[in-house]
């Protein structure tokens, strides 16, 4: 599913709202999450998951082709931990597929 497909799905549920409004809404939500991460905040969405920024220490990496050592600087990476409800839902559907198979 892409962002435009997500907007189309929302359009079916909200026939009174324009595609433009829905598109701007999805962007507003994603921008708010990104903005929070940029200012070092976490975003906790019960049932869905938590977005946070994790620190990675500097390390000595290796070019896999040449074997040459390279210094990899410390960096911050966006991280998502799925919530319990989402994890359970993913596996409930897997179990159903198995039963059906």
């Amino acid at each position: 599913m892409t962002k435009s497909e997500l907007v189309q799905i929302l359009a079916l549920q909200y026939p009174d709202l324009s595609l433009k409004t829905l598109d701007e809404t999805v962007d507003a939500i994603l921008d708010e999450i990104s903005g929070a991460l940029l200012s070092g905040k976490r975003v906790e969405l019960r049932g869905f998951g938590t977005f946070s920024v994790r620190k990675r220490d500097a390390r000595i990496g290796r070019n896999p082709r040449t074997g040459a050592e390279v210094k990899v600087q410390a960096k911050a990476v966006p991280f998502f931990k799925p919530g319990k409800q989402l994890r359970d839902r993913l596996n409930a559907s897997v179990a159903q597929h198995r039963l059906a198979a």
């Binding site: 892409t2 929302l10 701007e24 939500i29 990104s34 940029l38 070092g40 905040k41 976490r42 993913l90």
Partner: protein, 103 residues
Amino acid sequence: MHSMNTITRVELINTVYSKIGLSKADSGRLVESTLESVCKALEGGENVKLSAFGSFNIRDKNQRVGRNPKTGIEVPITPRRVVTFRASPNLKQAVNSGAGAAA
């Protein structure tokens, strides 16, 4: 950990309310529907790609042998489906160059 360093649905709803100009009630429903649509797609085994933000990818894990770290007893870890998030290149870069790196 909670407190000012964490934002939740409330802030997302307020953002939609103030930026888009929908009612608080509609803003709340839309935030919920958006999250629910993403969950539904993932539940159906579909990856979700949100350009300029990142993608949620489904991965199927095989059964493997795990170990209770406290007792050392081996336990089988059942096959399962997990979701991983890959931030878009611009979000990754922004998190590194922004104030986030210092926090």
